[in-house]
Symmetry: C2
Subunit: 342 residues, 2 copies
């Protein structure tokens, strides 16, 4: 929460429309603009600020550079009863996910489990928006996305993995879904950028500088340094798994494979994404959503008062009632960006 | 490696046969005996000592207590094109996995992805043996198993989750599969038991004592204390996910739900297990095993010299050539156990 004294509020739908206008004026198709605007406005609304309007300059400089195709039309292929692939056409991942969504619902329900493999895509957003909608349909979803080389494997010396998040969503019988989205790096890249901008130091163990030495300076991590995996060799193994699922399995790039140097201003990782969707109603766990409530109740009794996703839902409810909090300067800048001729 | 001065060696097949005799003499069916003996001997062979013959007393006291059914015949049900369930009949998980193995291979290849949900089962072994065989068939596999309440959720006060490991296996084009098996607790329970037996202290951050205070004493963790998740809130979220996948989704017990107090000597958790198997050849990642080699090569260049599973394969090769290392006293004790009339 960086916006305080100079913050203002904007209706969610107005923010969404404003961002859509910006995307379209900066080179995306209307459909891509709508999808990205909803995604980015949702992150801002839910207090996931490192994926909110903070990301707009990165989106626009990438579009301007020609690195990503904002007009791409995803190509969906039904390759097996439980397997959908999408060639995102060097576009963003979210329109690719949206294009396959209904087919994935159908396949998960028919087969018990289904898998969506997106390749040739750019993911520059939070991962929870990719799984939460499935849980709202009563399904369980897991997503994996790799990004760009900025994490040193455990025991290694140079960055290789991306921040490589894993996201999980499960429906609850009497509440919003249980959803987590965790970077397998010690910290998310957007949070390091925000800390650098605010000149804050980081906790120990998050990263190394350009000489491979431990540092708490976010600028040192961003300028030639690297992040570390969370949880030592275990986080590193999970990050490796994300590379294999999101890139090797989908036919996308590993986090270290793409070269954007001919595209100054490019910020988005050109990789792949894997989503697994499960229909719990087909097996012996058909009371799944009630069982999730049982586990959550027990976690609360054990003293864990806040469940994964709770903070986002609280901020979402508050923002839907009172407007989305945004920096006044940020909003003014967005309004200027929306005036650029398309 | 605890066996040194008093260690001896035994041929793998002889150890397997010895363990099978012991299991059968202590109440299992010949089929269950063969499966458990292969599993336990494999762990000893690969240097995974916390799941090797160290576990035999726990297996036998559990069988004696009547808590587990060593004669159980797993009931396999084909519930959807990509979904197999098994009621393990209050028996061990490994015979249930074996009973569904061929059906899972067929379903994964036909559908691109398939899921095996085992319930009413006891898992007292390592998790990597459940996924490695799929990778040897060219498939990718993920397994999740919950256990017994011994891990405090992040921010909580009392144990609720099990050690809840996640295991992953991926085929490599020119080498043994890449396989990891990681407890989502800061330490595996078997390793805490071994440390207690050897009166070693643990690294900080592994667990708490009966008062909920941090401790490095393994005995304090085992006697009323608890383990912590690895990696703070992220490991805790993954452990929660394992409870949901391995128990809620399968129709098994959560780690905190079963009560073995009427069965003195019982040691095995009565829960469930989920296995997801993927056929990479169906999508755009059909050169998957070669791509895994590319990633491994890059990890080596980045300075990570040992890959997940390497240590096990090295010890396996050595043990197959020269015999499995085992304590001389342990082996003598096993030979006595094999003499018990069935």
């Amino acid at each position: 929460m960086t916006a305080s004294a100079q913050s203002t509020r904007i209706d969610f739908s107005e923010l969404e429309a404003l961002l859509a206008t910006i995307f379209e004026r900066h080179g995306t198709s209307p459909e891509v603009a709508r999808t990205l605007a909803n995604n980015c406005a949702s992150a801002q609304r839910d207090g996931a600020l490192s994926h909110g309007v903070f990301r707009i300059p990165g989106y626009l400089s990438t579009l301007k550079s020609g690195w990503v195709n904002g007009q791409a039309v995803p190509s969906v292929e039904d390759v097996a009863p439980g397997f959908v692939t999408v060639d995102a056409g060097n576009g963003f991942a979210q329109p690719a996910l949206a294009a396959a969504h209904n087919l994935m619902l159908k396949k998960a329900r028919a087969n018990g489990i289904a898998m969506l493999a997106v390749r040739n895509s750019h993911h520059f957003a939070a991962l929870w928006p990719d799984v939460e909608p499935y849980a709202r349909e009563g399904l369980v979803a897991l997503a994996f996305v790799n990004s760009m080389a900025c994490v040193v494997p455990f025991g290694g010396k140079k960055p290789l993995f991306g921040t490589n998040p894993i996201s999980f969503a499960a429906p609850r019988a009497h509440s919003d879904p249980l959803v987590f989205d965790l970077a397998t790096s010690a910290m998310a890249h957007g949070d390091v950028q925000i800390a650098a901008r605010e000149e804050r130091t980081l906790p120990r163990g998050c990263g190394v500088d350009a000489d491979g030495k431990p540092t708490t300076d976010p600028a040192a991590i961003l300028n030639g340094g690297a992040l570390l995996p969370f949880g030592g060799h275990k986080g590193s193994a999970l990050s490796m798994m994300v590379e294999l699922l999101a890139a090797a399995l989908t036919g996308g790039n590993f986090s270290f494979e793409f070269d954007w140097s001919p595209y100054p201003g490019a910020k988005t990782p050109w990789t792949g994404e894997l989503v697994i969707v499960i229909d719990p109603s087909r097996g012996a766990g058909s009371d799944f959503a009630k069982r999730v409530e049982t586990l959550v109740q027990e976690m609360e009794w054990a003293g864990q008062t806040r469940q994964p996703g709770d903070k986002r839902y609280q901020q979402r409810a508050e923002a839907m009632a009172n407007g989305v909090v945004i920096g006044a300067d940020e909003l003014a800048h967005l309004r200027e960006l929306a005036k650029v001729p398309g």
